[in-house]
């Protein structure tokens, strides 16, 4: 059993418990141990991506350094955490001035310079487990289900730093959907923004954005939508006004692996 350091993030402790628990249960079933560092903090959400701000990136560096000390790759699952941590890791390995400032502030035993490999849970499935191997372990294939993957804006962009998939024509979630036995629905709005935090200030705007996504997926014949992002989940479920079901991808993974009943008890 291979062990990875696992960063759940704060939303996964309250609003997005499903995303977290199904992820852990599925990983175990796939022979992967996810170990949470003892003292992680909130990644700060997407606000931390301001280039000139150091303090908001420290929490990301702490968890990256913690994985480095444990000598393991780091796994994230929430789109926003993944975005913040990977971008911070990318910047610190390339921007000597930022690295110097961060390290001066943190006073670690050995300075952190971007040594940790970061996987999104989907990348873990694709690159470590392998979608072919995953398919073999599926006991309850979701045959006949037409599933629309919703990437949102944070999961793949900026493409250079996140290096996960082509942001304009991604395939990773569609390949995942095929692996769990369902049929992916390709629709144009799958990589557009759901409105994100704008829902706090201008609910109508977020409603318009998320309705567009849901309508487009439904129009192309989707039975349901999957996402990796708690904020997208919120906007699509609560703001879009659409009846189309929205799930975390980990929930369907757990279902396909036959784990769904026991997972969130």
């Amino acid at each position: 059993m291979e062990t990875f350091t696992y960063y759940p993030g704060c939303t996964l402790r309250n609003k997005a418990k499903d995303l977290d628990e199904y992820a852990r249960a599925s990983a175990k079933a796939l022979g992967i141990e996810l170990e949470e560092p003892a003292d992680w903090q909130c990644c700060g959400g997407a606000y931390t991506t301001a280039k000139d701000e150091i303090a908001t990136k420290l929490s990301a560096v702490r968890v990256l350094d913690s994985a480095k000390s444990a000598g393991r790759p780091l796994v994230t699952v929430c789109s926003a955490c993944h975005n913040v941590i990977k971008q911070t890791n990318y910047d610190i390995s390339r921007d000597a001035e930022m690295a110097a400032k961060v390290n001066a502030y943190m006073q670690l035993d050995t300075p952190y310079n971007g040594e940790t490999t970061v996987y999104h849970y989907l990348e873990l499935l694709r690159d470590v487990v392998g979608f072919d191997k995953l398919r073999e372990k599926i006991t309850n294939p979701l045959a006949g289900k037409k599933i629309a993957a919703y990437y949102g804006c944070l999961l793949l962009r900026p493409a250079k730093a996140l290096a996960m998939d082509d942001p304009e024509n991604p395939t990773i979630m569609e390949d995942f959907i095929r692996a769990i036995g369902a049929e992916p629905v390709i629709y144009a709005q799958r990589n557009e923004c759901c409105g994100g935090y704008i829902t706090m200030e201008d609910k109508a705007q977020a409603a318009k954005r998320s309705a567009k996504i849901m309508d487009c997926a439904q129009d192309q014949g989707a039975d349901m939508i999957i996402t990796a992002c708690p904020l997208c989940m919120y906007n699509l479920r609560k703001n879009s006004g659409s009846e189309l079901p929205v799930y975390y991808f980990t929930e369907l993974l757990a279902e396909a692996l036959g784990l769904k009943e026991g997972a969130n008890e």
Partner: protein, 663 residues
């Protein structure tokens, strides 16, 4: 004792504004061997050259140094002047005090000091210059044109007209290139086929022109006036000499589901095919990836149908070798792949097409017989959105940094043709800028806007969303009205950026010519030598050198032909005498030089040597073919024993320059 003259040029104010030219002349007059040191306003002018010539005669000079612009600019001018005054032209040295000094410095004292140092280095070198004599090399009176599009055809026709044999090598089964796929041409809207196909026929019928279709250049050796080129005639499984182009085989071929390249994959062709009705040569070709006989061994219908017995399933690729005096590159362009621009849904909706696909959809010989129908449901489109600059003027690696130049005009043409033929169809064009310089070009675009009411909107399309009702939701911004737009379109047409053909880069390596970062061939001088490459004897025709429309391509094709004819007219050409030579006594036969020589100018031979102990030994030593050597100097650097030396740039000369600079 050497008698050296120094001549410092002001170049108007180009040099004199930052370099104290009188101080430079004065400082250099004290260098060893310098007997005269002068300055003058324009040394390259007639009176400036006379000053140099007179000084050579008056002071009986044995070498001269010109402190002026880059040797690329005027070395030849001063060599000629020296020769006219009776001094060997290779006893002239140029100190570049313009590009490498006055233009890059602001401070007069610094620039003057540096000019003096550069002058001293040139004086030190000229002391060691030896008189060199150029050899003559014969010119093969035959030209090769690589690429059979409109550029290659025009170049070949012009060269043949001048009386020289010319071969066209075209990788497709027919000549004609992109222009053959185009429906109408801007700004006159005459039909492309009507002006191109007669030229194709003319090329085929001209007894001086030899077309190698379905062929590729695989190797180039030699040098200006005497290239040896290997051409691979790919197996087309049909005997070209027997096939009459009757087309019966293509009608009877049972394999009818092959994507038709000529129609951009919008319909199908058979496995044995003639690309289009006016193809030249009109000869069938078998596609071995689809032919049932070739794949399964069961079929042979075409062979049975062919009354002249031209089908040959066992045909092999054939290599032919030919000698040429000049080579013209006319490899053309292709639209870029759009897989990185999926916001326009190109790979998800058949109704999102490229402009070249639209040409075929509108062409009378195209998949719909010239009626514009949506590819998805063959219905008449009522709203069409054009998106310009897809991949052009792009600031990241998704696209190209340059303007593809032809898109504004062909989009205006498409918009106008659609409005003319289908007045009930609304046409929108999204643009960053409309760029229409060219004779009668802007008038053409104004007509599209004013007479045909095409909706030109400044702004870019952000997203194209295919909907289940078959329509496309086009989301865009109108930058002038500052508003978001949603247009319900039936079709979206993308003006994809153009890029050089993929065969261009390996070809450039074979030809030892230069390319820019975008793989366009680099001309010898952007203004004054636009159709020559920096490699002697290689000329550039058409879009391989940069994006071009048809009028410009034809103009450049004829210009390239004129340059090639100028070369072919000569019986012999003067070779550069600054070539490598091997000191056989020092050569240890290691082959390092042979490995680095890009021109294949070095060979090894076994020679008999008399050894110090009066015995005779056979040693393997390098020898340089001076007719092939281009004087690049790679071998002199690679040689571990210092046996290789470059005439005119010998190791001792370079070291003398370095010593003079470091003193």
């Amino acid at each position: 004792m050497q008698r050296i003259g120094v001549f410092v040029c002001h170049c108007g104010t180009n040099i004199a504004a930052t370099v104290d030219v009188k101080a430079v002349a004065e400082a250099l007059s004290h260098e060893p061997g310098v007997v005269v040191s002068q300055d003058y306003q324009y040394m390259c002018s007639e009176s400036g050259q006379n000053l140099v010539k007179d000084a050579i005669k008056e002071h009986k000079l044995t070498g001269i140094v010109i402190c002026s612009c880059s040797p690329r600019m005027h070395e030849n001018t001063f060599r000629k002047a020296a020769a006219a005054a009776g001094l060997n032209p290779y006893l002239v040295e140029i100190a570049n005090v313009r590009e490498q000094c006055s233009w890059i410095h602001k401070d007069i004292a610094t620039a003057t000091d540096k000019a003096v140092i550069l002058g001293k280095a040139a004086v030190a070198k000229v002391h060691l210059n030896a008189p060199l004599t150029s050899m003559e090399s014969p010119v093969v009176k035959r030209a090769l044109v690589i690429g059979g599009g409109i550029a290659g055809i025009q170049t070949a026709l012009d060269i043949a007209e001048a009386g020289f044999d010319v071969d066209i090598v075209e990788k497709q089964p027919t000549i004609g290139g992109k222009m053959a796929q185009i429906d109408k041409t801007f700004p006159t809207l005459d039909c492309a086929a009507c002006i191109l196909t007669p030229k194709m026929v003319e090329a085929a019928q001209n007894e001086k022109i030899h077309i190698h279709s379905f062929s590729e250049v695989t190797d180039v050796k030699g040098f200006v006036g005497n290239f040896t080129v290997t051409i691979k005639k790919k197996a087309r499984y049909v005997d070209e000499t027997k096939c009459t182009g009757c087309g019966l085989c293509t009608e009877k071929c049972p394999m009818k589901k092959v994507p038709n390249e000529f129609n951009m994959g919008l319909d199908n062709r058979t496995a044995i095919y003639i690309p289009f009705a006016q193809a030249v040569p009109k000869v069938a070709t078998i596609d071995p990836n689809y032919c049932l006989m070739m794949k399964t061994g069961k079929c042979g219908v075409c062979s049975k149908m062919c009354s002249v017995g031209a089908i040959d399933y066992k045909q092999q690729d054939q290599l032919i070798e030919e000698k040429y005096g000049a080579i013209v590159v006319a490899t053309g362009f292709n639209p870029i792949k759009l897989d990185k621009f999926d916001e326009f849904a190109y790979s998800h909706s058949p109704d999102v097409v490229t402009s070249l696909e639209l040409e075929r959809l509108m062409n009378a010989a195209g998949p719909n017989g010239g009626t514009l129908l949506r590819p998805s449901d063959k219905k008449h489109p009522h709203t069409i959105v054009f998106v310009q600059c897809v991949g052009s003027r792009c600031d990241d690696e998704k696209g190209k940094p340059y303007c593809s130049k032809i898109c504004c005009m062909y989009t205006a043409k498409h918009a106008m043709l659609i409005r003319e033929k289908y007045p009930d169809t609304e046409v929108y064009v999204f643009y960053i800028d409309v760029r229409t310089p060219g004779k009668n070009f802007d008038e053409f675009y104004r007509r599209a806007v004013e007479q045909y009411n095409v909706h030109y909107i400044k702004g870019m399309v952000g997203k194209v969303t295919p909907k289940s009702d078959g329509q496309l939701d086009v989301q865009a911004s109108d930058l002038l009205a500052n508003e978001q737009l949603h247009i319900n379109a039936d079709m979206v047409v993308l003006a994809a950026a153009i890029e050089p053909d993929k065969t261009a880069r390996p070809l450039a390596t074979m030809l030892t010519t230069q390319m820019d970062t975008n793989d366009f061939f680099t001309e010898a001088h952007p203004k004054l030598r636009p159709v020559e490459s920096a490699t002697a004897g290689i000329f550039l025709s058409g879009a391989c050198q940069g994006p071009k429309d048809i009028p410009e391509t034809v103009a450049q094709a004829s210009a390239a032909a004129a340059k090639a004819i100028g070369l072919l007219c000569k019986n012999s050409i003067t070779c550069n005498p600054c070539v490598a030579q091997s000191d056989e006594l020092m050569c240890n036969g290691c082959s390092s030089c042979e490995k680095v020589c890009p021109y294949g100018a070095i060979t090894y031979t076994d020679k008999e040597f008399r050894m110090p102990d009066r015995t005779t030994a056979i040693r393997r030593v390098a020898s340089v073919n001076p007719a092939v050597c281009q004087g690049c100097g790679a071998c002199t650097v690679a040689c571990p024993s210092g046996a290789m030396d470059l005439k005119g740039f010998s190791n001792s000369q370079i070291m003398a320059e370095v010593d003079a600079i470091c003193k």
